[in-house]
Symmetry: C2
Subunit: 306 residues, 2 copies
């Protein structure tokens, strides 16, 4: 819970660190920096502990060049309850390094259930014996296919808790075209998703003038970014697809609002965490190099347009 | 893991019990049949234990009239790691009563992440020290906004594990119209979602002729069911929206395929679990009455059309 809006907290960190990078953590038990613990017995708990150690190492290596961490929930869910415990510990590690936490869960459901997701991630659950805190992340990615009433409860809980939301508008995978790019009477589906996001803009706006009702807009479709910025002038864009998926930082200028470097957050996962596989060196140093290079490239792309 | 396809396991149970009912469990700590345990200290673990006891009670009360249970993941996630443990125990309880388990998570993500969700729910995770089993549910609800390549890994993992998938096509909330009913060159978006589902029909088809590549199609929009059945002739429909949301069983005939009573599964949650609030009686008896009434109404609707 924060009294300061997500957009303002993010803007403060971006100005301070000259960074718009969200480290993506999607830990794969086959590719942990230190591997599994050799003296541990097999099982979800020991794998989850190794995953946690890995995430802590990665965070420590790159924190100074980042402003946020995007946690891929699927990678924790596949470790069961132990994975959920690891997730909570990783969130604590992010907080120690003053990194905002974005739970990448792409949740979306009918209003009653959307309310439960809101409680799980950015709010709390009321019980007859008191209140149970949720995961306490700073923001959550959400899937808007179910429409405006499915976003409403999430926005209502996010607002008093100073949290943000990133709704899928145009995703980075090749299959995004199947539905998101279908043409409707009023433009492609992704533009309609953008208009839906824009309806909640005012609810999560910060003093900095940006809105924590954000949008996921892919770096792999740079030609659409200018139009999306036009449709969602104040939304913070969460931009995946740089690196392994082929998006290039120098093409991202149009994603940013004039004189608002916090209007775009670029996420990178494998290109940072697996940098040592591509460029050699020990994992922390290779990751630190990769993220610093990306930080500079994105900062340049966002500022040169002004 | 089952060697028998989801569609065939479901068809067997439907024939045996003359039921097409999936009990929806979305436990609310404010409305548990026995309340919280008064001697327990507050905290997620004790609430999760009370939620588990509640779910076991409900399952025991209605199992003989049902073929499946639909577990609302949000309601477990808001209890953290303890909630995940309760979820696993509820799944065991379903198995004891020979009820198929549908995890209602509406997951959907880019291919790498979709693979991780598949591992989490219907497959297993490979690690250097061996294999970790996933949650082991019989089916998962998925969100197809990200397109065909986001469904592919889920289908690929579901098939060898005898699991099913239900993709959102037309949902039961009023806001469904915002995106799903937009008109495209080739018909409304929900028809395009149906065509996307249909592409994976063959992958999860069973010997019974139905496909475990299913679709979520709302009872609140009965006028669209005939068209959706035409577009997805073999898909199993998961049909929410009966009861509290206003859908009526007698309007659901068009959802079913001729001579295939297992081609539709009707989910009901609050109208069963909270039946005692509306009709009096003790909770298990009221729930058993409500579910038996619904079972008969749906069975009649599905068979009278043949």
């Amino acid at each position: 819970v924060s009294e300061v809006a997500f957009a303002d907290r993010l803007a403060g960190l971006v100005e301070e660190r000259h960074s718009q990078i969200a480290l993506g953590l999607d830990p794969n038990p086959q590719a942990l920096w230190r591997g599994l613990f050799s003296d541990a017995e097999n099982g979800r708990q020991s794998v989850a502990e190794a995953v946690l150690a890995h995430c802590r190492d990665v965070i420590a290596a790159v924190a100074s060049s980042c402003v946020a961490v995007k946690l891929q929930l699927a990678c924790f869910e596949r470790l069961g309850a132990s994975g959920w415990e690891a997730l909570e510990a990783v969130i604590s590690a992010c907080q120690e390094h003053e990194l905002l936490c974005i739970a990448d869960g792409k949740r979306g459901d009918v209003p009653t259930t959307a309310q439960a997701y809101a409680e799980a991630f950015v709010g709390h659950t009321t019980t007859p014996q008191g209140v149970l805190p949720g995961l306490g992340v700073d923001a959550l990615t959400v899937n808007p296919l179910l429409g405006g009433d499915s976003l409403e409860p999430l926005v209502s809980v996010a607002r008093p808790n100073g949290a943000g939301l990133f709704a899928l508008v145009l995703t980075s995978n090749p299959g995004a075209g199947d539905i998101q790019e279908l043409r409707t009477d009023a433009g492609p589906v992704y533009e309609q998703l953008a208009r839906l996001v824009e309806q909640f803009d005012q609810d999560l706006v910060g003093e900095c003038g940006l809105s924590g009702m954000g949008a996921v807009t892919a770096a792999t479709r740079p030609g659409q970014l200018a139009r999306l910025r036009q449709l969602m002038p104040r939304a913070i864009f969460l931009i995946p697809g740089v690196g392994a998926q082929g998006g290039r930082p120098e093409q991202l200028g149009a994603a940013f609002r004039d004189n608002a470097p916090a209007s775009g957050l670029v996420t990178a996962s494998r290109s940072i965490v697996d940098a040592h596989r591509n460029f050699g060196g020990d994992p922390p140093a290779a990751a630190a190099n990769a993220v610093e290079k990306l930080r500079k490239a994105v900062w340049t792309a966002s500022t040169e347009r002004n």
